[in-house]
Amino acid sequence: MLKYYLCLVWRDLLLVMRQPAAVFNPLVFFVLVVSLFPLGVTPQASQLSQLAAGVIWVAALLSTLLSLDLIFRSDYDDGSLEQLLLGSQPSWLLALAKVTAHWLVSGLPLVILAPIVSSMLFMPYHALPGMLLALLLGTPTLSLFGAVGAALMTGVKDGGILLSLLVLPWYIPVLIFGASAVQAASSGMPMNAQLALLGALLIFALMVTPAATVAALRVGQMQG
């Protein structure tokens, strides 16, 4: 089972490496959205540092949304998704592998980019470890819930905007606790509670979303 899982993840990573633009674009978008705030709101350091936590999380949410379509689209189009669903291995493992690959190419780079972006927003340096922890706990949840939406959209043509409509509300708890964790970290208050809640959300997403993703994929297959 583990071998099957790793095999699927590796396959997706290989596919991505052949087509790197699809991964880079959401990341560029992430940096762009963040850099719009100094231009649109104020370049003043004191005000930007207050906004930083929220801006980074909102940008992370939006760029995750942009990359969600990658999870199933190409496999659905060339029919390999159908073959994988028919296979003998449990299909929730397929969903989990897809999400893992997606997080490795969209969530993890966000975490790596975050220190650069946060210094653009003059976030205090002592908040960095807290922010990285929060992003590490929060972004997998985004990928997990996003996969349900992406699976629902497999049969729908041009489902881009609809996908954001469906998925964004589910992201709100992550946004609230994530931003509040970073806020707490930058004002020097303890952030254990927020991190614990982010962890709880992640476990919850791990328990709920694979089954929902598979069910949604099967509905999508009906349309084909």
């Binding site: 004002s187 020097g188 254990n192 509670a193 927020q194 614990a196 962890g199 709880a200 476990i203 328990m207």
Partner: protein, 153 residues
């Protein structure tokens, strides 16, 4: 068949462990008590930085409300019965703003230790009652106070 049953068992086990972890984490988070506003004591002990926009909460101290004659400028003190904090506010106070009631104010802490609010919100409790009832309660407690004072004499 056996394989299927084993998988069912594994799933059940994972679900139980997962739910246990979730409950544990939530309980831990609840015990940590996320701070949404600072109390006057926390302000007094310098837990908040003056540059930030913060929220402070507390009870309005009896007899501390002062209104300016020619403007909407008001000032009052909020307290958590250990420390007091002077709040300045320019605007219309909500209906439920009373002395002795809890409020949450949003604004900035000044260098002199006073707080300038740009928004004042009243917290109201979930108890609803007609005016006569609350009058009766007040009279009853006043009467009770009066009798205790008499016995003290």
């Amino acid at each position: 068949m056996h394989l299927k049953r084993k998988r069912k068992l594994q799933q059940l086990l994972l679900l139980t462990v997962g739910s246990g972890l979730i409950i544990g984490l939530i309980l831990y988070a609840l015990s940590e008590n996320i701070n949404l506003f600072f109390s006057p004591s926390e302000i007094a002990s310098r837990k908040a930085y003056p540059v930030q926009r913060i929220k402070v909460g507390g009870m309005v101290r009896e007899g501390s409300l002062e209104r300016a004659n020619d403007s909407l400028q008001v000032s009052f003190m909020i307290t958590d019965y250990q420390h007091d904090l002077v709040v300045y506010y320019d605007g219309i106070l909500p209906d439920l703003f009373r002395e002795g009631q809890g409020i949450v104010a949003q604004g900035q802490l000044q260098a002199d230790g006073a707080f300038v609010a740009d928004q004042v919100l009243a917290k109201h409790d979930e108890n609803y009652m007609p005016p006569e009832v609350s009058d009766a309660i007040e009279q009853a407690s006043a009467a009770a106070n009066a009798t205790t004072e008499q016995t003290d004499l």
